[in-house]
Amino acid sequence: MTSLSARPDGKRRQLAPYAFIAPFYILYALFMIVPIGAGIYLSMTDWVGLGTPEFVGLDNFADLARDTSFHKALGNSLIYVLISIFVVVPAALLIAQALNTKGLRARDLFRVTFFIPMVLSPIVIALVYSLLLDRDYGLLNSVLRALFGAGNTNWLGDPTLAKVSVGFVMLWRWVGYLTIFFLAGLQAVPKERYEAAQLDGAGMWRTFTAVTLPGIRPVTAFIVVTSFIGAAQIFDEPFLITGGGPGEETLSVAMFVYRAAFDRQQFGYAAAAGLVLFVIVFGISQVLNRLLSIGRTS
């Protein structure tokens, strides 16, 4: 990147960039920094939403450390992160590879169709999937029953299957979105490198590991970090599809925060749980950003 050289004549020119970025930072301060500060304060209180918050120091955090429900939420959110990084991201890469095949017809049709779940409202997705996954009358079990005579699987009621179902909906919703990034990344890999690999007699797998993967490293890093952040704070899918159930088998940390504040009137406790999530997600993604050198100005 080249940038304009600063000239002595332009005092206004020196101030201009600050004015241009000011709207963002004002909103950032008001709706990010201030709430985080307020959250830190709330996290050290016991408050039902009305009356005076009672200052309790770090009690909320001590309670969180003992709360089996919070442990479960952390564990589930970790599972969502793993699904996202080790299932959704590779699936997106595979689809992108397939769509990148030379001379593929109807590439645009595939690309656009795979992207559509991304534009649907989460509530719409949830409605569609409860229609499909209902144990007794859902389409999926009906089809299984018609084909194999056995369709009594409790997709949303079994602890493991419920996670699988939520994971599948995550895949369905996000894979087309990530495919777009991978596809662009693949198309940016210089073809000379492939030709060179071919001359060296490299096989398909070797080409993939030696040429493709290094070639799409920046985009992969971006996708991995974005997916991590998205999955770590997942709310919509489990909230709408399973309500966190059965029991708490699909409860995520964001749902835990919501539930504590808006179902159980424990605002201080909710703020504390939110802060814990913040520290984890922010910490890990800063480390990842640094390791993978994402988000530099140049």
Binding site: Y41, P53, D263, R264
Partner: protein
Amino acid sequence: MIRRQPPDISRRQLLRMGGGLGAAGLLGGALSGCARTADAEPLTSGSVDLAFWTHDQAYVDFFQVAADNAMAAGTGPFRWTLNDTRTGATDIVTKTIAQAIAGRGTPDVAGLEIGAFPRLLRGDLAAELLQPLNDAVADVRDDLLPSRTAPFTKDDNLYALDSDSPLVVYYYRETEFDRVGLPTDLGTWDELAEAAAAVRRQHDVCLGAVTVGSELGQVVQGFDMLLMQRGGRLFNEDGTIAIESPEAEETLAFLVRGVQEGYVATVSDYFGPSMQAALKSGQLIGQWMATWYKIYGLVPNVPEHEGEWRIRPLPAFPGGGGRTSFTGGTGFAALRGKENTLAGVELIKAAYLTPEEQVRRYLDLGYLPTLRSVFEDPQLLGIEDQYCGGQRMFEVYRDVIDEAPVFYLSADKPILDTVLSGYLLRAYNGDLSPREALARAAEDFRGQTRSSRS
């Protein structure tokens, strides 16, 4: 490419951080400032526009007529106009609290569904928001069923008047019982279960259903109805958990056996398509359920069954308990410290505490009286119900009302719903024995409720 980093940046950074912390202090100030909003001077007479929140339009109509009746009788000082807001039962509580935080826009009278009400039991919420009705009910206290005031009472203050005495009875489809050869007058669950097991060799029929869907409260409800019938409780009066009891174990064992052997069906919820299909297909020919279920469950889902259903007292558990139970209810409360607080209290009194209105409430809405004396009302006893083949349903209600259990709510009910529902499902699946399931639910519950403070 910008190497130079001027020192003023970090200062700016610090200032910004300071701004954040300052805001937190500001917030703290704002919160404590509203510890108790100054009470408005209540109106004592005249025309009032009442903000009336409920989840069911039928309540709006009922209260409006009750207001009109009271005004026509000229007994009270108020002339009410209802300004209604209708939204989901849980949202009423959420929104009332949100508006209270904002310090304006709260309802004057709110219908608090019994599943959502426990949230107000946390901390001082109920006392902060609701006007105690102890004085309002003083005249009829002896006649008012304690089983319907206990759930809405905290620290001896009654905060809402229930709309119903939602007794649990056994609904059965008489025509189908006849067809498959099931007797309808068996005295105990065990006898009925045994008969059903025999019948199931030829007919795919179920005696009732438990819910296994994502509505955690409903999963617990299917179990809780029979638990209370058996004489058990979810909570003790002091709000501690009571599910590790022989009663709970026996109840759960009955349901588990039923699910495993097939005479108890599993549906995702009691109202939606899965229940409808179970009823429609003729698989589900009975259900223990509240008195309101005919209107809210059967008639909308299977109108074509008109004339085929009957009710009876619940078959008993051999181990003890009664022949009925409770599930549901909606308490109406007036919000305290508002201009319309008194007008709200008077409206609730006018609508819910006179025998005439309680009779009308049953006729219009199908909700049972909460005054014991009204159960003897000849008009109600004489009603023959068309959907239930001309049965005099009220005779069944009067027969069992005195066996109705008293139960208590707890601010931790939502927590119990979450943990218990999961273990109930595992027990129905046969993964855990009833005793294990209950013990582990109780253990998880204690892990999540913080005994250090409420």
